[in-house]
C-alpha cells in the first residue's frame, strides 16, 4: 500500500517539478502556461476589469466599516460599487458583508472547529491526512476496495469509527482537490502553499458535508469553496458556503444530494429562455442541443469555467448580491452574447463546444460584464417559469416527479426552507400562507400570459402607458410597489425608456433609490425589499397571499392594471397576431396550456378571480403542490 502511493506520488511530483520551475502567476494567482496549454486550460490572463479611483476605494472601505446588512441604503450603495467594479483587494470583505458571514456563524450552534476534531478520528484511523492528498487518495481507494470486498461480513461488527460512506466522501473530495483550478497558485502542484490550500479545501468540504448531510459533497462544490478560499479565511469560507447553499435567495435551490434541484432549475431556465429568446431556444432545440449539458455546469460551478477570471469574480459579486436570480441573469447574458454564432451553426457538435467553453472574446470583462448589467431578469419572471415547470411536472404521470417539485419550490415556499435552515438556527416563518398559493400561481401565470401577449409587438402602446407610470412621483408606499409590480410586463419598454432618459440626463434619479437609474423598473424595488433580510419574508408573504389588507389592495390593483393592459392589447392583437406567434412560438403553447383553466378568471374582475380559485379543485391541487 505504501509503495503504491509513494510511487504514484513520485510519478506526479516529477511532472510538478517540471511545471513549477520558473512558473509565474498572474494577479489572480493563475499560472502562466505556454500557448498550447493555455488553450487546453481555457484561460486568458489579460484582464480588463476597471480600476476604481482612490476616492471610491476609500468610500467603499467606509461603507464596509459601517456595514449594516438590513440597511436599504447600504444595499443600494454596494450595488453601485459592484456596478463600478469591486477592487480585488476588498472583494473578500464585500462578500463577507453581503453574506453576513459573522451573523450566520453566531446564529448557528454548529462549531466548525469541533466538527474538524470529530472528523480527525476517522482520518487518523484510516491513516490519511489532508496534507498528503495523493497518498490519501491511494490509501482511501485501497481501504474502500478492501471494505467493499468484505462488506457483508463487516456490516455486523464495525469496530472502526469510520463508515464506508465516510471513506467514499473523503476519497471523492480528495480526488477533486487537485482537479479544481489545477493551475491556481493555491492548489497547484506540491508547493507548501498548494499543500495548505488543498488541506483547507478538504477540511471545508468535509465539514460542510457533515454540517448538511442532505447535500453532502457534490462535484462542483470544490470549485465554489476554492473561490471562497481565495478571498476568505478558512472558517469564514465555511460559513460563507453555508450561507450560499443554505439560503433560498442564494443557491439552496441548486444543490441537493440527488441533483434533482439543479435539474429542476435547468427546466426553469429552459422555460425562461423560451420566453425571452424564443427563436434561439427553438434553434437550439432543432439542433438537438440540450440545455442541461451546459447550463448545469454553469449552475453547479457558478461560471468558474469561464476563461476570464475578472469576469468570473464580477459575476460572483452579482450572485452574492442577488442570489439565484443573478445565476439566471448571467446564463441568459452568455447565451445572448453567443446568439449570433449559435444561429449560424446547425449541429450540436459545433454548438455545444461553444457553450461548454465560452470563447475568450465573449467572456472578457468589457464584453460579458457590461452585457450582464444591461440584461434584466426579474424575480417574478423566474417565479412564473418555476410555476410553469411545476405545473408541467404536475401533469406528468410519474409520481416520482410529483414529489420533487415540492422539495424544489423553496424559491416561493417556506416550509422546506425551514427544514433546511433549521440546522443553522434560522428563524423562518412558515405555514401561515399556505392556502392562497393558488391565487399567486394564477396571477403569476396570468402575468406571463399577458407578457406574451404584449411582447414584443405591443411595445408602442406599452410605452405610452409606461410614460404615465413613470410620471407618477416615486415614493415607496406599498401600494406603489404593487402597482409597479403589476406593470412588470412593460419592463423592457420601461428599460428602453429609462435608457433614453438616462442618455438625455441622469440627474433626476435620486441616488439612494438604487444605482445608476435602475429605479424606474418596478420589480427592482421589490428585489431591493427582498434583499433586506426579514423584509424579504414579509414581502413574499405579502405578495403571495394577499392576506393583509394592504396586500389585498395591492393585489386588486395589480390584477386591475393587467386587466386594463390586456384589454388594450386584445384590441391590438388581431393585426399582429400572426407575426406575434411567429416571433414567439412558445406563447401559443403556453397559452393553450394555461388558458383553458384561466379562461374564466382572466377577463373577470379580481374578486371573481379569487372566488373562482377557491372553488376550483384544480387550483387547490396546484396550491398543495407549491407548498
Amino acid at each position: 500500500m505504501r509503495r503504491r502511493s509513494s510511487s504514484s506520488a513520485s510519478w506526479r511530483s516529477s511532472t510538478d517539478k517540471r511545471r513549477s520551475e520558473g512558473v509565474g502567476f498572474d494577479e489572480f494567482g493563475f499560472a502562466f502556461t505556454n500557448r498550447r496549454e493555455q488553450k487546453l486550460h481555457h484561460r486568458c490572463h489579460d484582464y480588463s476589469y476597471p480600476q476604481l479611483s482612490l476616492v471610491r476605494v476609500k468610500e467603499l472601505c467606509e461603507l464596509l466599516s459601517y456595514w449594516n446588512g438590513a440597511s436599504f441604503i447600504c444595499k443600494s450603495q454596494i450595488e453601485r460599487f459592484i456596478r463600478m467594479g469591486i477592487p480585488p483587494s476588498l472583494r473578500g470583505r464585500v462578500w463577507k458583508c453581503l453574506l453576513n458571514v459573522d451573523g450566520v456563524r453566531e446564529c448557528s450552534d454548529f462549531n466548525y472547529q469541533t466538527c474538524l476534531l470529530e472528523v480527525r478520528g476517522p482520518l487518523v484511523d484510516l491513516g490519511v491526512s489532508e496534507y498528503g492528498i495523493l497518498s490519501a487518495i491511494a490509501t482511501l481507494s485501497d481501504t474502500q476496495n478492501d471494505l467493499g470486498l468484505n462488506q457483508r461480513q463487516l456490516s455486523g461488527s464495525n469496530e472502526n469509527c469510520y463508515s464506508i460512506d465516510e471513506i467514499t466522501l473523503f476519497r471523492q473530495i480528495a480526488l477533486d482537490l487537485q482537479r479544481s483550478f489545477p493551475t491556481h497558485q493555491s492548489l497547484m502542484g506540491q508547493s507548501s502553499e498548494a499543500i495548505e490550500g488543498q488541506a483547507k479545501l478538504f477540511r471545508v468540504l468535509v465539514a460542510y458535508a457533515k454540517y448538511n448531510p442532505q447535500v453532502g459533497y457534490s462535484q462542483g462544490m470544490s470549485y465554489i469553496v476554492a473561490v471562497l478560499l481565495m478571498h476568505l479565511g478558512e472558517e469564514e469560507a465555511f460559513w460563507a458556503l453555508t450561507a450560499l447553499l443554505g439560503k433560498s435567495k442564494y443557491l439552496a435551490e441548486l444543490f441537493d444530494l440527488s441533483l434533482t434541484k439543479v435539474q429542476h432549475q435547468v427546466k426553469v431556465f429552459d422555460q425562461f429562455l423560451k420566453h425571452r429568446k424564443a427563436r434561439l431556444s427553438k434553434h437550439l432545440d432543432s439542433a438537438g442541443v440540450l440545455l442541461v449539458h451546459f447550463v448545469m455546469p454553469w449552475f453547479l460551478t457558478l461560471f468558474t469555467s469561464l476563461p476570464c477570471w475578472d469576469s468570473v469574480l464580477a459575476v460572483w459579486d452579482l450572485i452574492i448580491l442577488q442570489g439565484l436570480q443573478a445565476v439566471f441573469r448571467t446564463s441568459l447574458t452568455i447565451i445572448e452574447l453567443l446568439e449570433p454564432r449559435l444561429m449560424e451553426l446547425n449541429d450540436e457538435g459545433a454548438m455545444l463546444p461553444l457553450l461548454l467553453r465560452v470563447p475568450v472574446d465573449m467572456a472578457q470583462y468589457t464584453v460579458l460584464v457590461s452585457a450582464l448589467w444591461k440584461t434584466e431578469v426579474q424575480d417574478w419572471e423566474l417565479k412564473c417559469m418555476n410555476s410553469l415547470v411545476l405545473d408541467e411536472s404536475h401533469h406528468e404521470p410519474k409520481t416520482e416527479k410529483l414529489e420533487n417539485p415540492q422539495n424544489m419550490n423553496n424559491e416561493v415556499g417556506t416550509e422546506n426552507e425551514t427544514r433546511h435552515i433549521s440546522k443553522s438556527g434560522g428563524k423562518k416563518t412558515s405555514k401561515k400562507d399556505t392556502v392562497p398559493e393558488g391565487v399567486s400561481l394564477m396571477t403569476r401565470v396570468m402575468r406571463m400570459v399577458h407578457r406574451h401577449l404584449l411582447s414584443p409587438l405591443g411595445r408602442q402602446g406599452v410605452e405610452e402607458k409606461c410614460s404615465q407610470t413613470l410620471a407618477v412621483p416615486r415614493h415607496r408606499s406599498p401600494g406603489h410597489v404593487f402597482r409597479s409590480r403589476a406593470s412588470a410586463s412593460f419592463t423592457q419598454a420601461q428599460v428602453r425608456l429609462k435608457r433614453q432618459s438616462k442618455q438625455k440626463s441622469s440627474t433626476n434619479q435620486p441616488e439612494g433609490q438604487g444605482s445608476g437609474g435602475e429605479v424606474a423598473v418596478a420589480p427592482v424595488t421589490g428585489k431591493k425589499l427582498a434583499g433586506c433580510g426579514k423584509s424579504e419574508r414579509y414581502q413574499q408573504t405579502f405578495k403571495r397571499s394577499g392576506t393583509g389588507s394592504v396586500g389585498k389592495v395591492a393585489h386588486r390593483r395589480s390584477n386591475h392594471t393587467i386587466h386594463l393592459h390586456a384589454r388594450a392589447k386584445s384590441r391590438r392583437l388581431p393585426q399582429n397576431e400572426k407575426s406575434s406567434v411567429d416571433q414567439n412560438p412558445n406563447s401559443s403553447a403556453i397559452l393553450s396550456s394555461t388558458l383553458p383553466r384561466s379562461s374564466s378568471p382572466t377577463p373577470s374582475s379580481p374578486q371573481s378571480t379569487n372566488a373562482s380559485q377557491s372553488g376550483e379543485p384544480h387550483e387547490t391541487i396546484n396550491a398543495a403542490l407549491i407548498r
Binding site: 503504491r4 510511487s7 504514484s8 510519478w11 506526479r12 511532472t15 510538478d16 511545471r19 498550447r36 496549454e37 487546453l40 486550460h41 487518495i137 481507494s141 474502500q144 476496495n145 467493499g148 471523492q172 480526488l175 477533486d176 487537485q178 482537479r179 479544481s180 483550478f181 489545477p182 493551475t183 497547484m188 457534490s218 462535484q219 462542483g220 470544490s222 470549485y223 444530494l257 440527488s258 441533483l259 434533482t260 435539474q263 438537438g288 440540450l290 442541461v292 449539458h293 451546459f294 448545469m296 455546469p297 453547479l300 460551478t301 469555467s305 449560424e344 451553426l345 446547425n346 449541429d347 450540436e348 457538435g349 459545433a350 455545444l352 463546444p353 461553444l354 461548454l356
Partner: protein
C-alpha cells in the same frame, strides 16, 4: 469543431466509468493528442470531436466525456441519447473502479441503444506495478458480456488510438449491416437501404459546408 471537412458518418460515442479513472484524458489524448496532468473535474459533460478515416469512409466521432460521480447518473440518460458506441473505462490500479463496470453496463443498457458497441477499457496501463485488475479477469468479463476489450494508457498513448478506432470500425460495420436500428444521429440512417444512406450523407455534406 465546425471546421471539419465533409464526412460520411457522425458517430456519437460516450465515455463512462467511475470518477478519476482517466476518461477526460482519454478524450484529450484521442482528440487533441494531449495529456494534462492537472485536468479539471468534469461537471456534467465534456465534449470533443475528431474526424477519422476508416477504409473509404470519413467518420466524425463525437466523443462525450461524462462525469463519473454517482449522483450525476441521475442525468446521464440525456448523455446517452443517440449514442452508438461507448467506452466503459476503469482504472487497472483500482479494483473498485473495475467492479462497478457491471453497474455502469446496466445503466448504459437501460438508457441507450441496446445494440450499441461497447468496449471495456482498462486505463492507466502505465501503472503496471500498481495493477490490481489482472488483464485475464477483465478480458473474461468482457467476453462474457459480449464487450470488446482493451487496455490503454492515456499518459503514454498506448492503445488509445487503437481503442477508439476499433470501436468506430465496429460501429461502422453494424451500421453497414444495419444491425443497429434506432437512436442514432441523423447522418446515420440506419434502418434505410444503402441508397438512402447515401442520400443522407449527401445532405450532411451540404449542411456541413454551409456551417
Amino acid at each position: 469543431m465546425g471546421s471539419d471537412d465533409s464526412y460520411n458518418f457522425v458517430f456519437k460515442v460516450v465515455l463512462i466509468g467511475e470518477s478519476g479513472v482517466g476518461k477526460s484524458n482519454l478524450l484529450s489524448r484521442f482528440t487533441k493528442n494531449e495529456f494534462l496532468h492537472d485536468s479539471r473535474t468534469t461537471i456534467g459533460v465534456e465534449f470533443s470531436t475528431r474526424t477519422v478515416q476508416l477504409d473509404n469512409f470519413t467518420i466524425k466521432a463525437q466523443i462525450w466525456d461524462t462525469a463519473g460521480l454517482e449522483r450525476y447518473r441521475a442525468i446521464t440518460s440525456a448523455y446517452y441519447r443517440g449514442a452508438v458506441g461507448a467506452l466503459l473505462v476503469y482504472d487497472i490500479s483500482k479494483h473498485l473502479t473495475y467492479e462497478s463496470a457491471e453497474r455502469w453496463l446496466k445503466e448504459l443498457y437501460d438508457h441507450a441503444d441496446p445494440h450499441m458497441v461497447v468496449m471495456l477499457v482498462g486505463n492507466k496501463k502505465d501503472l503496471e506495478n500498481l495493477r490490481t485488475v489482472p488483464t485475464e479477469e477483465a478480458k473474461d468479463f468482457a467476453d462474457k458480456k459480449g464487450l470488446m476489450f482493451m487496455e490503454t494508457s492515456a499518459l503514454d498513448s498506448t492503445n488509445v488510438e487503437a481503442a477508439f478506432n476499433e470501436v468506430l470500425t465496429a460501429i461502422h460495420k453494424k451500421v453497414a449491416s444495419r444491425e443497429v436500428t434506432r437512436g442514432s444521429i441523423s447522418a446515420v440512417t440506419l434502418s434505410s437501404p444503402l441508397g438512402l444512406t447515401r442520400e443522407a450523407q449527401e445532405e450532411r455534406k451540404g449542411c456541413c459546408k454551409s456551417s
